[in-house]
């Protein structure tokens, strides 16, 4: 009847009295790429879970029309049978099984009932991989031998094997670098040419602008508006305005009144080898300096060695055969364990808060105080409860961790608030030097702003701050200076005025050319 493949009308979904979705409407045209935008907790994932049957029919109110039919999905299988496939942020691949097996997992190619036809599985897997631009991959290798970018594409191949008509991608590029992201987005455009409709959830507005035909913005469980490319203003600022409900004149708060002082953190001739392979050098002769009150970026592509550098500095948490010197406040320090690092006023906020940063079943107080506890909140190994409570309360209010109390379990907080807990944890150790690895990954615009404010505050207090970020605008927006790291080496150093996306990429490219000429082993 209409050219809409999907219409979701007046969807309302409550969780124990709280409305997660409140009369949401969304219409997706056949063959388009439709983006879904909103801050974390706005209800995007809930909406997609309603659509795919994760929340079965009857647990929500409203109506889903798919290809003109009223849908009553009771589980994922129902929706998949209709050609709706959802790919979640966390990859649903079984790491040790082969690529071919993963493509057909839950959808096995069988000769007899229950007996897998391996020849057919491999042949068809190859076919599916070709559709996502991976025709040269060996389907027999275990899936974890591929990079995250390729694994994401294998997820799509898996969806293709299910004869997908409506593909939903929940933050597909969150873990990918720019190059991999671009490839994935191009595959999406390719799929579009083959008549597959896509819904993409993403925080990366430049990607949305690049790939999508229309965008629906959700805020606080309500649809705000739908913008169509070529009809409405489709700029990033326009989308952000709808997302946050106010004009974001500046995504990066201005840092004022900071006196940049002397060099307080210095790394000299830092060399690190791969933890499993002692002949593979991961970092080569790294030299960096950071001054008090200065915010310094480490730009580079994913896999350039930035996280490896941070972790090897932070108590030798990465690598082996580590050599080189670290000076903090002019004194050479030995940082063989994390405890040494904390004692010497170095803090590292890891990139993946759920895996490396938080005890998700512990409460806010416990998570905030765990690192500082041996130094500030205890005497002879006995904890001073009062000090902990007072300090945790202080930080909860100071950096606005939205929660019931400091006794709330961290796993129940949103990503942005979890990140604030991790940041508090390291502020409590009263470091002089902070390394923040992807400090705003996967958190919404509002929370990002708050984290940037915290960074400014820390700079004002005269801390030396190092920011590792794969989002170049973030480096540009927050840093006083930036190193560019490529292939385990410093590829360049850019002053505030010089930092632009082009400059960063130029550094990387120039370094790559040099690397090819010189050979790797020196």
């Amino acid at each position: 009847m209409s050219d809409y493949i999907l219409e979701m009308n007046h969807i309302t979904k409550e969780f124990s009295g709280v409305k997660a979705l409140d009369d949401v409407n969304i219409k997706v045209k056949k063959g388009e790429i439709h983006a879904l935008c909103g801050e974390n907790g706005a209800g995007k994932s809930t909406l997609m879970n309603v659509l795919s049957g994760v929340y079965p029919y009857g647990t929500y109110s409203g109506d889903i029309l798919y290809k003109g039919e009223h849908c009553k999905f009771h589980n994922l299988r129902d929706s998949e049978a209709k050609g709706i496939v959802i790919i979640h942020q966390e990859l649903a691949l079984s790491p040790l099984l082969s690529v071919a097996e993963n493509v057909f997992i839950g959808n096995e190619q069988t000769s007899m009932k229950g007996v897998i036809d391996w020849t057919e599985t491999r042949r068809r897997a190859q076919e599916m991989l070709a559709k996502v631009g991976l025709e040269h991959e060996d389907v027999n290798v275990p899936v974890n031998s591929l990079g995250v970018g390729k694994q994401q594409l294998i997820e799509i191949a898996k969806a293709m094997a299910k004869k997908v008509e409506l593909l939903i991608l929940d933050e597909p590029t969150a873990a990918l670098n720019d190059e991999e992201s671009k490839k994935l987005l191009d595959i999406m455009l390719e799929l579009k040419n083959h008549g597959i409709t896509c819904i993409i959830i993403s925080h990366k507005l430049n990607e949305i602008e690049y790939v999508s035909d229309s965008v629906t913005i959700i805020r606080d469980g309500k649809t705000i508006e739908t913008l169509v490319k070529g009809v409405d203003d489709y700029s990033e600022d326009r989308v952000i305005k709808a997302m946050v409900g106010r004009e974001m004149t500046n995504r990066y708060p201005v840092r004022e009144g900071v006196n940049i002082g002397d060099v307080i953190f210095e790394v000299k001739d830092w060399n690190v080898y791969h933890p499993d392979d002692e002949n593979r050098q991961m970092l080569k002769n790294i030299n960096i300096k950071v001054r008090a009150g200065e915010v310094v970026g480490l730009a580079g592509l994913m896999g350039a060695g930035r996280t490896e550098l941070a972790m090897s500095l932070f108590g030798h948490s990465y690598g082996q055969k580590i050599s080189g010197k670290v000076l903090i406040n002019g004194k050479e320090v030995q940082l063989k364990t994390v405890k040494d690092a904390v004692k010497n006023k170095l803090a590292y906020i890891s990139e993946d808060r759920k895996t490396y940063g938080l005890n998700l079943i512990g409460d806010i107080k416990e998570n905030m105080t765990i690192a500082a506890r041996p130094f500030f909140f205890s005497k002879h190994g006995v904890i001073n409860d009062n000090d902990e409570i007072v300090e945790a309360q202080k930080y909860r209010e100071k950096i606005n961790v939205k929660s019931n109390s400091i006794n709330q379990v961290v796993g129940s907080l949103s990503g942005g608030n979890q990140q604030k807990v991790v940041v508090s944890k390291w502020m409590m150790t009263q470091p002089d030097v902070l390394i923040m690895d992807e400090p705003t990954r996967g958190i919404d615009v509002g929370a990002k702003y708050e984290i940037y404010c915290v960074i400014n505050d820390l700079a004002k207090q005269g801390k030396a701050i190092i920011i590792i970020s794969s989002e170049m605008p973030e480096i540009i927006g927050t840093c006083d200076r930036s190193y560019v790291i490529n292939d385990g080496e410093i590829a360049g150093e850019l002053s505030k005025e010089e930092i632009t996306q082009e400059k960063i990429m130029q550094c990387i490219m120039a370094h790559n050319r040099k690397g090819d000429g010189n050979g790797i082993e020196e």
């Binding site: 709280v18 890891s350 938080l358 005890n359 079943i361 006995v382 019931n404 944890k425």
Partner: protein, 391 residues
């Protein structure tokens, strides 16, 4: 606001739930056995029979908090008992030498297991399965498959003796004043602790439980205390094992809640990688958890052999399962990172009351195992389902 209040009520129901389960199971068996499990002698037996399970459950809780278990404790109990027996009976040495040797052997097995687990990275399940087999084999070898005994009474006092008593005639029997004085002291301490905890909560503007809940909780706990102590006073007074238990509960309760080292176990169980990057030497934590388990197994070995007055090759058979089950019944998370000493102790008593009640009722040990298995499965199922609902 409303959801916040709901959360508190639910949370507390979980805390009290164990105590209620304990009381209900006890009452059910009181009914089934016509009150036989409520006699002063039986109450006394309950404490003495469960002493070693409680000791093991306390050590096991720390293992469970890391997300693992120790399968070797039953065998270590047997080995340490065997060492004590050989030293006293064959070498004719002083009982203190035997006690120190038994604790030392326990400690060494702990160091052995801890070394493999913490510093070689061998999974605890495998390591302790090995210590379980090795320990049992060693016991049979040492004892040449014979029972060694009887031990001297001064040693047996540890497992079967009583603290000094002041008996007065009372209601056709006697009443021990020491027990009553201790009960009064315990009640006062309990009430003071509750008042202090609530004052702290008010001071920091934390939600305070409704008064009726506090009153109910205090009432139930006071009731349990007075019931036990009154029964003990009517019998022979306070068993020595009870003193050991109380001291251990106090020490480990303190360690797990109020010390840096104790909280590091929780942090490790909650997320090992994050704990590492927070400056916690997780290998060291693992090592000491298993060393501690070995030491407590040695203590349990002494208590058991002292109660039996002998060392037998089969001693402690299956104790590891009772200790593990106690922790889970007491609400510890199977994946680690959550659980309490008090929970493990209550869990141990639930197991003990079940054992004792079923024995009195005349059920065979075969049936007892079926029931205990069902209770374990039921407790963990209820716990997990209620958590799932919350999230």
């Amino acid at each position: 606001m409303e959801s916040k209040n709901n959360k508190i009520v639910k949370l507390d129901m979980k805390q009290y739930g164990m105590f209620f389960a304990l009381i209900i199971i006890y009452l059910v068996f009181a009914l089934l056995t016509g009150g036989a499990n409520m006699t002063p002698m039986n109450v006394n037996n309950l404490i003495m029979q469960n002493g070693y399970v409680v000791i093991l459950a306390i050590g096991m809780l720390l293992c469970v908090l890391t997300g693992n278990i120790d399968l070797g404790v039953g065998s270590v109990v047997a080995v340490t008992g065997a060492f004590a027996g050989i030293i006293m009976m064959d070498l004719k040495m002083n009982m203190w030498v035997a006690i120190i040797a038994a604790l030392l052997v326990g400690l060494l097995t702990g160091i052995f297991a801890g070394f493999f687990i913490a510093y070689l990275g061998i999974p605890p399940f495998v390591t302790t399965l090995a210590t379980m087999l090795m320990g049992r084999g060693l016991t049979y070898t040492l004892l040449q498959a014979q029972t060694k005994g009887p031990f001297e009474p001064s040693y047996n006092f540890i497992g079967a003796g009583f603290l000094p008593v002041i008996k007065i005639p009372f209601a056709g029997g006697t009443l021990d004043l020491v027990s009553i004085i201790v009960a009064i002291a315990a009640s006062v301490l309990l009430i003071l602790a509750e008042i202090k905890s609530n004052a702290t909560k008010k001071k920091y503007n934390f939600a305070v439980n409704p008064t009726w809940q506090i009153a109910l909780k205090l009432g139930v706990m006071l009731f349990i205390i007075w019931f036990f102590f009154y029964k003990l006073a009517r019998y022979n007074g306070l068993p020595f094992v009870l003193l050991i238990m109380v001291i251990l509960i106090a020490i480990y309760g303190f360690v797990t809640t109020k010390t840096v080292a104790g909280r590091q176990i929780y942090a490790l169980g909650g997320n090992r990688k994050a704990a590492n990057l927070s400056g916690i030497d997780t290998n060291k934590v693992f090592f000491w958890v298993y060393v501690n388990m070995g030491l407590l197994s040695g203590l349990a070995g002494i208590v058991l052999s002292a109660r039996n007055g002998s060392a037998t090759p089969k001693a402690g058979d299956g104790f590891e399962m009772d200790a593990i089950a106690s922790c889970y019944i007491g609400g510890a998370a199977v994946a680690g990172g959550s659980g309490s000493i008090m929970g493990a102790v209550v869990g141990a008593f639930i197991m003990g009351i079940l054992n004792n009640g079923m024995s009195l009722f005349g059920w065979s040990t075969d049936i007892q195992k079926i029931v205990k298995g069902a209770v374990l499965l039921g407790a963990v199922t209820v716990d997990l389902l209620s958590k799932r609902k919350k999230s």
